[in-house]
């Protein structure tokens, strides 16, 4: 479950210290003009200048910040924010945010992925604005997070551009990948104990763009799993998926060879036909700018192109 947790739990926090001299820039739709008054997760704040000491407690938000050109404004990121590699990684936890530890960075904006009432109250007391960028459950939700992020950091134009690029890249991948035949199924492995995703999750929706259906969709008792059910080996063998995608290559060293060696798995058609596609778990558990790389890896897997273990 590690990847799910990382995904759901990653928190990003940007804190904005109001600087006295507002560098007001015109052009309403393209660039924010400061001072700027915005409704944040913990109240309404007026940013007199653009935030320059951002704390991101969400690996996805960290990636988004750098993608829209706000990287230089980032002061600290949480312990799972490993991309880009030059992001100022700290021991701050997005899973269990510690207000005092965050306050030490004197942030003028904090970005989080999970919304906890107590955290917001404490941050409000410290007068630190919090932006809430929750785990997206579909592509449009993911894209919708760039707008507010661009606005508050003063990078509207780049945020819009990034969204356009992501959409165009995805459209291009979908257009150039031969559409999978009907009833092409996949087993997506989050953890070696068979946690998987349904087609209703963020990843599942991305995969269905290429015509793929998750075997987990036909599992009974899905309601309580939130789209991330735990399957069992008999179920997977009986479902005999066309493809196997491994999103546990980094956490748990899953490989095509280790899957093939599992008792009974050599009878699967995906194993016999070498249709096991290793993915980078970090990319696959985030909804940031690198979703295009994830989709490309999947598309390459469908085309039979070997995929590097960690792209």
């Amino acid at each position: 479950m590690r990847s799910i947790q990382k995904c759901l739990v990653a928190l990003s926090i940007i804190a904005g210290v109001a600087a006295p001299l507002g560098a007001g820039v015109s052009g309403a739709s393209t660039t924010s003009s400061f001072p700027l008054t915005l409704k944040m997760a913990d109240g309404t704040f007026t940013f007199t200048t653009r935030p320059d000491a951002i704390v991101s407690l969400s690996p996805t938000s960290t990636e988004m910040l750098y993608a829209i050109g706000a990287g230089s404004q980032v002061k600290a990121v949480d312990n799972y924010s490993d991309y880009p590699t030059n992001a100022p990684k700290t021991t701050l936890s997005g899973y269990d945010p510690n207000v005092e530890a965050i306050a030490k960075y004197n942030p003028d904006l904090v970005i989080v992925a999970s919304d906890t009432a107590n955290f917001n109250t404490q941050m409000a007391a410290l007068k630190i604005p919090v932006l809430y960028d929750p785990a997206a459950s579909n592509l449009s939700q993911a894209c919708a997070e760039y707008g507010p992020l661009g606005k508050v950091t003063g990078h509207n134009a780049q945020a819009d551009k990034e969204v356009a690029t992501i959409k165009a890249t995805i459209a291009h991948i979908v257009a150039t990948t031969p559409h999978a035949k009907k009833n092409t199924t996949y087993y997506y492995e989050l953890e070696p104990d068979y946690y998987s995703v349904t087609s209703a999750t963020f990843v599942g929706k991305l995969f269905s763009l290429l015509g793929l259906t998750s075997i987990a969709d036909s599992a009974k008792g899905l309601a309580s799993s939130g789209g991330y059910p735990q399957l069992n080996a008999s179920f997977i063998l009986k479902a005999n998926p066309t493809y196997i995608f491994l999103a546990d290559t980094l956490c748990c060293n899953a490989t095509a060879a280790s899957v093939t060696a599992r008792p009974g798995w050599s009878t699967l058609s995906a194993v016999k036909n070498h249709r096991i596609v290793p993915l980078n778990d970090d990319i696959a558990s985030r909804w940031g700018p690198r979703i295009t790389i994830l989709l490309q890896d999947v598309a390459d897997g469908l085309k039979g192109t070997p995929v590097p273990a960690s792209s």
Binding site: M1, R2, Q5, K6, V9, S93, Y95, D96, E191, P192, D193, Y194, A219, K220, G221, L222, S224, S225, P229, Q230, L231, N232, A233, S234, F235, L237, K238, N240, C251, C252, N253, P263, G264, W265, S266, T267, L268
Partner: protein, 355 residues
């Protein structure tokens, strides 16, 4: 000697206690449960298909089941090792519980009494946290953790406790368990993302059972079961009480040590592959006592067979009720176990001192 004890002694001396009938019943139950639970699962295979696949593995029979390769793999590589492993684990936990109850003369003793659960839990947590999720060394770490905790309990209890009453060992077990659990909790608190893995281990599961797990614990199970079965008469003598047993020429200290060591070995092996499964060690021996006889000549062998059947059945519920998702096995045994536990406490035979 109290009247009650005199009666007990008389019973022990005179009654021809034979486990044959209850053992036969439990044995038939076990075979039926094995067949059904090998078939039942998300794949929904029929009993004849399963029987055919099993027969095709009988040497010299040259039987061809005609089942598909995938069905064959489901039965032989996934369902059957799970069932067999469940049987071994259930047998060990039930035998361990029965032994602990006898040695400590306490109806509520279970195999985790001396801190094995806390020790194994800490061992498992350390491995999961240190290897960030890898489970290769999990069984070894849980085994070692459990063994260390019980050894520590025994040393502390024997050194500072009184003259082998057993109570000081039990109290030492409480202290050791508290210590190990505290260390485990603080480790988990610092590694929150690993919570899920540790938690699912703690609640017990046979979902990842393989033949190699079976071969891994089988030797320990055989040794443990053999020792416990050969000590069943001595356990009966211990039921009389410390002084009476000593007056019959039994070295109670030695018997107690051997039985605890054997029960711990079996329990640690079981825990190492299945995580912590509660209540089996309490329910099964008591069920045997209530339905048959309190003599260890019956309780021990029937608990071993009945424990196997009980856990296989519980695991069948665990992996079918929300199929294909798994309900933690420990949750299933506790849901059955808790009401039964109350029933045991209220039962007249327990109040009359069936132990």
């Amino acid at each position: 000697m109290s009247t009650e004890r005199r009666v007990k002694t008389a019973q022990l001396a005179t009654s021809a206690i034979s486990p044959r009938v209850p053992l036969l019943v439990a044995g038939i139950g076990l075979v039926v449960v094995i067949l059904i639970s090998t078939a039942v699962g998300p794949a929904n295979l029929s009993i004849p298909t399963v029987a055919g696949i099993l027969l095709s593995h009988v040497p010299l029979l040259h039987f061809h089941s005609g089942a598909s390769a995938i069905d064959h793999a489901i039965v032989w590589d996934i369902q059957l090792p799970r069932v067999i492993l469940g049987g071994i684990v259930g047998a060990m936990l039930a035998a361990g519980g029965a032994s602990y109850q006898g040695v400590f003369r306490n109806a509520l003793a279970d195999p985790y009494l001396l801190g094995i659960a806390a020790g194994a839990g800490l061992g498992a947590t350390i491995v999961i946290v240190a290897s960030s999720g890898s489970t290769t060394w999990l069984p070894a770490a849980a085994f070692v953790g459990g063994a260390v905790a019980v050894t520590l309990t025994y040393i502390v209890g024997a050194k500072f406790g009184g003259r082998s009453s057993g109570n000081s060992v039990v109290l030492a077990g409480v202290a050791v368990a508290a210590l190990f659990t505290a260390v485990q909790t603080s480790l988990l608190q610092q590694h929150a993302p690993d919570l899920q893995s540790v938690y699912s281990w703690i609640l017990g599961s046979l979902a990842s059972a393989t033949w190699s797990n079976v071969w891994l614990i089988a030797p320990y199970a055989v040794v443990s079961a053999t020792v416990l079965l050969t000590h069943r008469r001595l356990l009966d003598v211990l039921r009389l009480g410390e002084e009476e047993a000593a007056s019959l020429g039994v070295n109670t200290r030695r018997v107690r040590l051997i039985v605890v060591a054997a029960a711990t070995l079996g329990t640690a092996a079981a825990v190492s592959v299945s995580g912590l499964i509660g209540f089996v060690g309490i329910i099964v021996p008591h069920m045997v006592r209530l339905t048959t006889n309190a003599s260890y000549r019956v309780v021990m062998p029937v608990s071993i067979v009945g424990g196997a059947a009980f856990l296989i059945l519980a695991d069948m519920v665990a992996h079918t009720i929300e199929s294909p998702a798994e309900v933690p096995l420990g949750v299933v045994t506790a849901i059955v176990g808790a009401p039964f536990f109350i029933f045991v406490l209220r039962s007249r035979r327990a109040q009359q001192g069936v132990l």
